[in-house]
Subunit: 391 residues, 3 copies
Amino acid sequence: MSAWRLVDEGAAPEPEAAARPEGPRTNGRRLLVVAAAVLLTLVGAGGLAAAGTGMFAERPDGCVKPDRSLQLYAVELPKDGTQVRLGYGLTPQTASYPGPTMEMMEGECLAITLHNQVSAETLAALRTDPAHPLGVSLHVHGVKYTQQSDGTIHSGSYVPPGQSRTYTWYAATRNNKSGSQGTAGYWWYHDHVVGGTHGTQGLSAGLFGGLVVRRPGDPKPDRTYVTAFGDRQSINLRRGDAADTCAPVNPQPGPTCLVARKGERVEFIVIGIGNDMHTFHLHGHSWADTRTGVVGNGQPFADTVPIIDNKTLGPGDSFGLQVVAGDGVGPGHWMLHCHMQFHSDAGMATTLHVLDEKGNMPPGMGHQHGTASTARAANSASTDSSEHRHN
Amino acid sequence: MSAWRLVDEGAAPEPEAAARPEGPRTNGRRLLVVAAAVLLTLVGAGGLAAAGTGMFAERPDGCVKPDRSLQLYAVELPKDGTQVRLGYGLTPQTASYPGPTMEMMEGECLAITLHNQVSAETLAALRTDPAHPLGVSLHVHGVKYTQQSDGTIHSGSYVPPGQSRTYTWYAATRNNKSGSQGTAGYWWYHDHVVGGTHGTQGLSAGLFGGLVVRRPGDPKPDRTYVTAFGDRQSINLRRGDAADTCAPVNPQPGPTCLVARKGERVEFIVIGIGNDMHTFHLHGHSWADTRTGVVGNGQPFADTVPIIDNKTLGPGDSFGLQVVAGDGVGPGHWMLHCHMQFHSDAGMATTLHVLDEKGNMPPGMGHQHGTASTARAANSASTDSSEHRHN
Amino acid sequence: MSAWRLVDEGAAPEPEAAARPEGPRTNGRRLLVVAAAVLLTLVGAGGLAAAGTGMFAERPDGCVKPDRSLQLYAVELPKDGTQVRLGYGLTPQTASYPGPTMEMMEGECLAITLHNQVSAETLAALRTDPAHPLGVSLHVHGVKYTQQSDGTIHSGSYVPPGQSRTYTWYAATRNNKSGSQGTAGYWWYHDHVVGGTHGTQGLSAGLFGGLVVRRPGDPKPDRTYVTAFGDRQSINLRRGDAADTCAPVNPQPGPTCLVARKGERVEFIVIGIGNDMHTFHLHGHSWADTRTGVVGNGQPFADTVPIIDNKTLGPGDSFGLQVVAGDGVGPGHWMLHCHMQFHSDAGMATTLHVLDEKGNMPPGMGHQHGTASTARAANSASTDSSEHRHN
C-alpha cells in the first residue's frame, strides 16, 4: 500500500479531505503529513516490525554482494567537561572522534554493521523533543547507498540502543558510456538521527569520520589526517592547546598530533561540521584545487587549475589534499589554522610538525619557543602556563 | 555633456570647487556626488524624460536584433503572514516566486519587456528612505547587457509603477580567437531597486528567478527545479513543511514539489539570496563540480574534477547540476537540505521524491512514515500534526 | 639541542615529568609548552640573540640567491577616526593600505627587507596581552619560504620596532616530473604578529597587500586592482562613498578608484580578510573560475570550466580574474559589490568606471545621476548630500 502513486494506479481516498489541521500557514502545508497519518491507521502497530526492511532495495546497483565487511561501534566516551562525547570505533575500546578513517577503492562494496552501544538514557538526554526516536545511524557522503542505508529517521534506517544494523556502501566506478561519474573523492560519514532529524547532537558529540575513495592510479599518501572544522572554533572538536597534543619526544601521529618527516606525502581529509563557515589554511604548503589536491603530470589542463593554500568550507563540505611535507621549505612547525581571525585567535589552530628526514626537529625550533616564552616572562608578572600557546 | 572626461577634452568647471558638503569623513568623500548635482542643474527637469534612453547602447555587441521577446510582469502576490510577496510571471496570473525559469541558447538575444504592476503604495512601504525612487527592475547574472539593461538606479534602468521597459540580454558565445568566454551557465535574475539601491526588499519579497544558458551539445534535463537558499532558513522563501507541498497522490512538479521518476535527468538551478551562507546537500546523488554538473566523456581532465554532494554557496552565487534520479540508489524520499545544522533543524530542508520507473513510490515509504508517526504518537500525549515533519 | 627527536636519538629528560601546570583541561594540554620552558632554561638569555637565525634554512630550495631585492616599510598612517591605520610601502612616504601590489614570475626569488617603523607604543596599544611580543612581520601566501620567513611569533621571524629583517620568497616553478605544482596564482601577504599570534590587529589596521605570480604565457593586464573584502562591510578597509574616490574629471586609478578604458584588460586581485564571508560580484562582466580567470584557447576542458560573475570568498582566500573592460557591454558605471544584501546595503560596494576608448564617459551617465538626484530632491525635504550614494 503506497501513499505515493499516480491517479491511474488506484482509487485511494483523497487525503486532503481527511482531518486537516488548521495552522497559521495553510497554503504550503504538507499534504504528506496527512497521508502518513492515514497510513498509520492502515498499517497499525503490527506492520511496524517490518519497518526498515520493506520494499526498498538493500543494496545499490552494482553491489551484488559486499566485497568486505566491518563492524562499527557507537559508544559513549568520557565527557569533555559537561559535553557529552560519542565516538565511532572499529572496536568499542578504540572509539574516538573523529571515528576511524575509512578507505575504499572505486568498485568496492562495503558492508558496515553498526552496533549502537550508546545508552537510551544518553540518547534521550540529547533530544529536546520527547517524541523523537532514540537511535544512532550512519549517513555517508559521496558513495552510493539505498534508502535502507540512508541513516535517516523517515527511512527507518537507524539503530535503536542495543541493536545493530548493516549499512551497504558502494564506491561506484566511473562509466564514460553511461555518464556515471564515479565516486572517488574525499568524503565523510556521520550520524543523522541523534537528538533530531538532522543528527545535530550526534555530530556535535563526535559521531563523524572521514572517508576516502581512491581510483586506480591515485597517489598514495604516507600519512592521512582528518581535520574537521566545527563550531566553537574547534578542529576535531578540540581547540587551542587541546588541538595539538604532540609529545615533544617521539611524537605519535593521531587526531590531535599532526606530524611527518620531510618528504613524506601527507594527506588531509578536511571536513566542515556544525553551523559555521571556516577556511583551511596551511603555512608553507599549497595544493591544487582538484579531486586529489594534485595536478596531472603535464596535461594541458594542469595549467588551468588554481593552486591554493587557503580554502573555504561550510558544514557538510569535504575535500582532500596531499602535500609533500616540507617540500622546498624544510622542516618546522607549520601552522594549520582557520583564517577567520576571531576563529584562529580563539584557538582554531594546530600545527603540522615537519621533522627532518631523520626524524629530528632542527635546533632552531627550541630557540623560537624560547623567544616567545622569554618575551612573555619578561613582560608579564604572572605567567599563566595554561594560556601559553605557541600557535 | 559629460561629467566624466579627460582634462584635455574640455574646460569643465572643477566640481571640487563647487559646494562641498562637510561630512564626518571628508577624505573619501565621493566627488561624483557633486558632479551629479552640477549636472542636475544643467539638465533640468526637462531633460529627465530622456533619462534611461540616453547615450549608452541599448543592446550589447553581437545582438543586432533580439531573436525572441517575451513579456514579464511584476505583481503583488498574497502576503505570507505579514510578509509582502512579489513575483515575476509570464502573465500576471502566473506570477510566482521564484519567477519563471528562463532558458537561452548561447548566441541568442532575448528582449524582455517588464511591466511593473506593483502599486506605488506597496513599493513605498518597502523603502526606508523616502527619497528612494519607486520602481521594479530586472538585473541578470551571466549574460551580456548594457547599462540600459543593468536594472539599477544610477543607470536609470528601472520601471516606475504602471510603466514598462524592455531589457535586452545577449547570451554571448565563446570565441576562442578573441578569448571571449561564452555565457553558458546557471544564472539568475532579480530586482535591483525595490526598497534600496541593491534591491534587498525586492529580493526578499520574491522578485527573482533562475536562468540557464545552454551550449550546443549540453545534456538536456527531463525536469528543472530552482532552489533558492535564503534567509530565515528558507528554500524558495519557504521553510519546513511549506518547502514540500507534494500531494501524495499524483504529485505535480512545482517550486515546492520536487519529484521525478527513476532514470529521469533532473536539473537543479541553485541560487543563494539574502545575507547568509548555506550549503546545498542532496542525499543519494552526487555531481561534478563543473559548468554543467556533468563530466566529459572520457576526457583526461574528467579525472581531475571533484565529484561532490555538498556545495557551499553565498548570496549572489548560482550553480547548476544534473543528476539521474535514483541512479544506482533507487526510488525514495531523498533529502535535500542545507547542511548547516541549525539551518536544517529550523526547516531548511525539502525532499527529492524519486518514484520508480512506473511512477509509484515503493510500499516501504509508507511504513517509514508510519514508524516516525508511531514513535511520536507513542511518546507524546499531544500530537500536534502541524509540527509533524518527515524530513 | 632539540626538543623534537625520536627516542632513539638521545636520552632527553622526559618533559612530561617536569613541572606540569594544572589547568581546567588537562587532557589535551600541550606538552610542547613544557618542552619550551625546559629549553628556555638551557638556552638562557644569551642564546636568544641568535633567535631567528638558527638552524632553519634561510632560503627555500631552488633559491640559491635572490634574483631581486626590495625594501618594504611598515609605517603608521593617519588614523581613520579612532581606528589605527598601518601600511606597507616601498618607501615610508608611499605606504598605504592595501600595500604595494607585488608581482613575480615563476622561477623568481625575491628578497624583501622589512623595516619596522611602527612605534613600540602603537604596537603595544594594539595588543591585549602585555606578554605578546612587539613587532611587525611579513607572512605570504602561495610562494615558498622557510620558517625563517614565516612571519610568525613561534618561528621568531618578525621585526621588533626600529629593526629590519629580510624575508625570502621563492616563486617555485611547476615540475611535471617531481609533481611540484608551481606557484603561479593570485596571492596576498600580511602581518602575522601585530596584537596577537595571528596578526589580527595588524591586518585590520591595514598591513596587507596583493601578490600575483605569473607563468610565462599568462595574459598580461593593462591595469591591476586589489580589492580586499573585510569586516565592517569594507572594501580595502573603506566603505560607502569612501570606497570610490574617483575624481569626475581625469580620474586616476588607485586603491579606491577603479577605472579603465573600454577594451583594456583589467585584473582584479580579490582577497578576503577579517572574520566574515563575502561574495565578489561585478556587473556586466564575467570570468572563468580558473587560475587566471581566463579559459584556454580551444582546449576541450575549456567547455568544462564554470564561467561566473559572483564568487564567495572567506578570510584568507585570494583569487584573481581578468576581464576586458566593457567588452560587449560598453562603457558605464559597473557596480562591484558584495552580494550579501546587508553588506552591500551598508556600503560594501564600489564601481568599475569604464570609459569609452577615448577616455570619455558617454553623456547618458550624467543623466542617470540626475535622475536619481531628482527623485531624491523631489521626495525629500532635507537632502543630506553626505548620505547620497549612487551605488
